[in-house]
Symmetry: D2
Subunit: 369 residues, 4 copies
């Protein structure tokens, strides 16, 4: 179990390298009877596909998903669902000159230390293409959640110094940067054009909101819903920070400000009057919207000369100045938006299933006793 | 597996409620031959014990640990180590009046929704006393890591508006607030005294640094070292945010600023010139110090009247104004410092063990082939 | 995770050595709202307690269980249930003379090879007392299953050459050997008296039947219900074989004999006409009784001189003839009967919970969608 | 995690149905640097391929494996290895007439009860083709073990009444029935020819021996090496019994007969004089050969008319007499031999990796401390 598996009951295992034969995922534990089509999965994959605008790499990959198992007559059967995307647009030669060098900001040095050598083509397993399996599996998780009324939406809040002041969700898919604010998107495009001309790149802030939440999801102590979500988000390449609700601002807050009062809604059910907590209390969903923010670092592959170290065939090292060629996004976050949604969906689908065994009443009802 | 287990090879399972008979932990998977004494574990537990200053609750608990298994003649045997602390200072009556009410900022409502009812005494399983098991297990993990030269140090960087400007690690245990700056500690004490007179509480920021790191720890994709650490930190009650290295600041940074160049040290080994990454690249330790920051919310138990909802015996709800009595810290973070260290130690000890199977060379050497 | 954890959702972790401070178990994942008392758990533990007859060891242990957490006002709360039994009747001195010797048929040599040294007192972790945690946890699992109508009964079918010809379940607790046949029990007692006078011991065959089964439990491929049960039974010390339904006899059978025809019962529901399969088809329960047989080897601790090897302080080995002193049962199986039932209960309780997420229909019903 | 995952560190997840697009497996956790080729994996798959003799089905599948990830320049990289075999020879129409009927001895009824419906084509997930993933992964595990000197050999000991009296391992691949005795193989062929003419089938007994064992593999209590092996073997379709060493015979044995004495070998190292235990003591390998026996039931698909039940479109059931058409082996065991070897290899490779963290000495050596 070297880290490519995720989840307990809704469990996925991903595979694949940037320049290998194929990438994909097995979903084991999806309940039977969920209607899902290849088109629905493809639609999610298309959101993370490169080549969509001048801010994303020019690789013209089809990234066409093929379902290999687990779906019969349009429905999940309860058995493992394997989905695969073949790699097509290989330019391995682009990477030959950096096979022995450690690109700054990349995992090259760490992989070589850990495994003794590495698949250097396009970052190998540490490439952003690794997220194909996450997104394909996330599409199924999203469908499961949607059948319970749970919806997940992520978008880019800020890019470098440019912050989206508005939060118009209908705008997200209307601009290549996935910002919920058309003006901010335009300003950010200018900012990125400037960076590109300097062969530089930018970080960004992504937000994710989940509506239609069911209270009671998540478990006390280590498997708190926010703990699992934080781990899930931090597992996405380039993420350096995660916060829930008011997040880091709570460090300067007072209890009287930060506590969310409870009141009754029109149906006489408890609701929180505010949502400083971001939808989780004690690690368990409280029925209000989940809200989290995720910080992405700038693309580490930049075309400027950088100082680094290379490993010689005899095992010694030497310092060098390297220039990374190839095609690279000046920003990661817009294409990471569907990955953020996928990871949130995977955590929540698993939590929905785990919660089924929380009390005897539900169990007796299920078995008709 | 309802969430009280943590880790893969160095695996712990905790138990216990605030006002039950006892709290504790089983560590399964600690290698044989580690020297450890009850005193070493007690020393860690004493750091999280209440009643240490006027900023912490007045409960005079001994919190004496008893080792029940797994250690023989002063050394771990490779079999499960169970450690237990008995509860002594019960004032359950204090909690009778809130048995049916949902305290704002607490998990009461969520537990009731999830399980149908709850152990309302002192927060039950969601009490801060739950961390006893983490700290006891963490003491063993720390000892294991120390034998490899890895050291973990956490402290409080800021409390409300008061920020420690200096980072003098020798100061941490010299003030009740565990700040690495004596002046800041004094200012924070004044701030908290003021809050206490207003029956209010404060959030805080904790930092954690790990030195003597081994490169190669952590696994690609979902079990990235920072992903596991982020989940571990977020699983501590009251944590709302976690960041690594430059953290949220990367969202506004450029790649040329954020990348850490590699150079050679005096022994001809690769080292990073800067550490914006916080010691992890691609989810694998890069040999430089691990550095993370964790945001703690203010204590939710405040003595001010708060608006909330109670559940009636007939299952209906009604709004009410409640006042929480009992003894509560106006700040959580200082006592959480050993918990942060414990969680970091648990993740790292597990990573150290998992890494043993990363390459064939090491395996053949181990088995003498 | 060095092997003391068992189960996925209904997950237990046991601890404790024969001559340590205490033995016990944490059950994590028991649903909330199950009524259970210390007396019910004690009743199961009393069945495995030594000192019940002249065929079991004379250690007069109280083996009194204490519940440390997870039960409040007579019901499980959904949080971890820790149960502990203190060791009392230590005669560690009895074991001093064999501290460096490898008792034939015991794990001494293997523990020393694996861990470098071992807790030699009474077998340490490999003692039969390790099963206390299994039986305590099994008592809770049995209660959960009973609330769904599932009952587990094990008994001793044969001891050495003496086979119980009758299967009168009301007899099981009427004789110290737990045979379902009073005459066979008497004959087996004579056989064991003879063996004892020869300082020898006997193997035995245990059968286990589960009634009130729910169809659909277990999962295809690796987590087949019979695969999990086989692993569970083989994990009990001294077990050397497990078989289901017709078991090893199928190797000589024809398909036309071995297949179980289906028919309709009086309610028009499918039932199997025969039960050669032992209640499982394709690894999933088929609604008929589960039936399995488990072979226990003779007690390895016999008072005859035996040839073996000891490890010298300098790490060299030498051959020796050893005699094991102390008190030992001439037969293991009767006291293992409650352990067999406990392991069956643990597997089934877990399967009952895992099955809740098998289809979307049940999930939507649970969440009222 | 619906049961298609196996192992802890050397972890596999299989996928695929008999008549779906493809079958295969992901191996996550294989150490980096193991040399392995597609040819070596194909060689193992060829052993389980149908169409090899008149005793196996006539499906002419190529069953060509394709490696999709995790291997670079002929060596494992430490990242997930996905291997896939496409289905080719579909005769789904053969199965249309039994889509709603429950074949005796098959999982049809159980799948329908569990999931609400099922992929009825060729048994779907419960087909013997599911073992493709096991065998492909097992090929890698075998290579890993071979590099440590561990070899696994399985064969058919008996078929119906015909028992191999000789154990000539060189004969195994010389006859289609994989018996280690040419004469027995000839007699068994006659027996099976007779059964086939009666449209009947036969059970069989398989033995598996592991040489070159390392002492110390396996963990106490639940993850005993024999417990994991028993679960692994019982997870193979059609297996009804597993035994180790003397197996069920121990039930009639005496301790003085069953204990294996220790002595010193020519190098002064401890060895067992006999091997009644089958290579495991207290669940940990003792250095002698592992030896186990596995009982396979007769092929349930027989061409005789059988009484069963079908489910009508309105959800009611009715009794019927059915005849199963299609091509079916009159015996399962010979083709299961490579599956038995694969499962043994998977358990042992995982045990080899888990054992690396058993003692501090080895860990300090690994990290050079």
């Amino acid at each position: 179990m070297a880290g490519s598996g995720f989840g307990t009951l809704f469990r996925i295992t991903t595979f694949g390298e940037s320049h290998g034969a194929a990438l994909g995922v097995i979903v084991d534990g999806c309940p039977a009877g969920l209607e899902i089509s290849e088109e629905e999965i493809q639609a999610e994959l298309d959101k993370r596909k490169p080549g969509q605008s001048r801010f994303t790499t020019m690789r013209q990959e089809g990234d066409k998903v093929e379902i290999l198992s687990g779906i019969f007559e349009g429905k999940t059967t309860g058995t493992p669902i394997c989905m695969m995307v073949r790699n097509q647009d290989h330019h391995s030669a682009d990477y030959g000159n950096i096979a022995d060098s450690f690109r700054p900001g990349h995992a090259d040095y760490c992989f070589t230390e850990k495994y003794g050598f590495r698949d250097y083509r396009g970052g190998g397993r540490s490439s952003g293409r690794e997220t194909i399996g996450r997104v394909a599996a996330g599409a199924i998780a999203k469908k499961l959640l949607a059948s319970l009324g749970i919806q997940i939406t992520a978008y880019v809040r800020s890019i470098g110094p440019v912050v989206a002041e508005k939060t118009d969700l209908s705008m997200i898919e209307e601009n290549a940067l996935r910002m919920p604010d058309a003006d901010a998107a335009k300003a950010a495009e200018s900012y990125l054009d400037g960076l590109r001309s300097e062969t530089d790149s930018s970080g960004a802030l992504v937000e994710c909101r989940v509506t239609g939440m069911i209270p009671g999801l998540g478990d006390p102590v280590f498997d708190k819903l926010d703990a699992l979500l934080a781990g899930a988000m931090m597992s996405i390449g380039a993420v350096k920070g995660v916060e829930f609700g008011d997040g880091f601002a709570v460090a300067a807050a007072k209890g009287s400000e930060n506590n969310d009062a409870f009141a009754l809604d029109e149906n006489g059910k408890p609701v929180k009057v505010t949502n400083h907590s971001g939808g989780v209390l004690g690690g368990i969903s409280d029925g209000s919207d989940l809200f989290m923010r995720i910080a992405f670092k700038p693309t580490p592959s930049i075309a400027q000369p950088q100082k680094t170290v290379k490993k010689n065939p005899d095992g010694t090292y030497e310092e060098e100045e390297m220039v990374i060629h190839g095609r690279h996004d000046p920003i990661i976050a817009p294409r990471a938006v569907p990955v953020v949604e996928a990871m949130a969906a995977l955590v929540l689908a698993d939590a929905v299933l785990k919660n089924l065994s929380s009390k005897m009443d539900g169990i007796k009802t299920f078995y008709g006793k």
